[in-house]
Amino acid sequence: MSRRPVEHPSLYLPLKVFVRWVLMPLLTRTRVRGVENVPKTGPFFLVPNHQSVLDPMVVQAACPRTVHSMTKSTQFATPFMRWLLPRLGSFPTRRYRVDPQSVRVALRELARGRGVGIYPEGERSWDAELQPLRKGTVRLLLKAGVPVIPCGISGSYDVWPRWSKRPRRCPVRIQFGEPILFGAHDDRAAREAALPAATARIERALRQLIDAVDAEEPDEATRPAAGPDGVESWA
């Protein structure tokens, strides 16, 4: 028998407070913009770019609504994580196959009026650049027909890139973009027809948000030196 669903997973708010007031000040100087773009009520998808293992924590700490995140299944490998992650609102997705259960759970959470977080690149970037978006993710966004909130993150790669064991304190900037409304595409053929334009639109929105936060504050530590023609060259 299923129990009555709760609005906030039990450990979500305590972890959010910890991340916002303890972890983030230790690891980053964070600037957040665009929180007014997150719907105050009703379902929505939050779609950030993905630079670092920190992204889910910092984005969810910055987002004014609770976000239930689609999380790679390997994160649930240990008994402790299998206990913890659901209490943080996460649910698993198997990335090595088409996973209809993760789609069902996402749609179920949306039907309850909640926010669902999904990273359309599918994995962390190796080089801090935006990667091609996964078609399956965009298909899910088209099927659901709820507002899609793009979220640009810049700087989390600088703090903790995928290849490094060691985080270092660097500025992180997050900007929530204006909602994108695709409408519901119930028909498979309609989703396939809309897929290229929808993918391009989300990619463009993410790039614009990332560029906007990068342009805010030129940071000497993160800007490479360039020659007179702006091109880095070997001696």
């Binding site: 028998m1 299923s2 129990r3 669903p5 709760v6 790679k72 299944s73 390997t74 649930f76 490998a77 299998r82 659901p86 209490r87 649910f91 698993p92 997705t93 198997r94 990335r95 090595y96 196959r97 088409v98 996973d99 259960q101 993760s102 759970v105 599918g122 994995e123 190796w126 080089d127 801090a128 650049e129 996964r134 078609k135 399956g136 790669y157 600088d158 703090v159 903790w160 890139p161 995928r162 290849w163 490094s164 064991k165 060691r166 270092r168 304190r169 660097c170 940071d219 530590a221 993160t222 800007r223 490479p224 030196a225 880095e232 070997w234 001696a235």
Partner: protein, 207 residues
């Protein structure tokens, strides 16, 4: 993982492999050094009489310009692939449900015990030769692999017949291997007249 796993050959001279430890890598051929001082996206490059900063994305592009992962893997004939590395291999044939508050949230692969051995790739297949004397070698044809993805310091493949196989590299670069495997699969698809692979996960899509 470490810097020399993503910069697996020298961006400057192309020498393969780059040596390294932690956030520092160096080339034994041209003696350039690459290091992260603070921001992960900016790599300090020194040696050869100069010192400057470069975006890591640009260094990765320079590696691709030198031939990426393929140069070291090419045979004497210039087009067949042969490369190997030591790995720990794990297989999951079963997915276990994750339940919470009376509902199934999803499924998680149950990986078995890791088995050390050698992973080889050639034009036809990915092959695993375990160290254990009683263990049987395994092979997966490149055309039979259903999905490829990287995960932390490993690569995962979904073979024909289901399940997932994870290869964790003892010292080689998972970035190199992902690049190599995808290139080898693309060659196999092209030879078989199956077109260009457009996606590698959650399943191979070609057209």
């Amino acid at each position: 993982m470490a810097l020399h796993h993503v910069l697996y050959r020298c961006p400057s001279c192309g020498h393969d492999p780059l040596q390294g430890e932690g956030d520092r890598a160096w080339c034994t051929a041209c003696e350039r050094e690459f290091s992260r001082r603070r921001a992960g996206s900016t790599i300090h490059v020194s040696g050869g009489g100069a010192s400057r900063k470069s975006p890591i994305s640009k260094l990765i592009q320079q590696i691709e310009g030198h031939g990426g992962a393929l140069t070291a893997a090419m045979g004497q004939d210039g087009f067949s692939i042969h490369y190997e590395a030591r790995v720990l291999a794990q297989t999951a044939d079963v997915d276990e449900p994750v339940r919470f508050r009376g509902q199934v949230l999803g499924f998680v692969e149950q990986l078995g015990e890791g088995e050390p051995g050698v992973l080889l790739i050639d034009d036809e297949a990915l092959r695993f030769r375990p160290d254990g004397p009683g263990s049987e070698p395994q092979a997966w044809t490149l055309l039979g692999v259903r999905a490829v993805q990287s995960a932390s310091s490993s690569i995962q493949i979904s073979p024909e017949g289901g399940g997932v196989v994870v290869f964790r590299f003892e010292s080689d670069s998972p970035v190199r291997w992902e690049s190599l495997l995808k290139a080898a699969m693309q060659y196999a698809y092209t030879r078989a007249g199956l077109g260009t692979i457009q996606e590698f996960q959650p399943r191979i899509v070609s057209g």
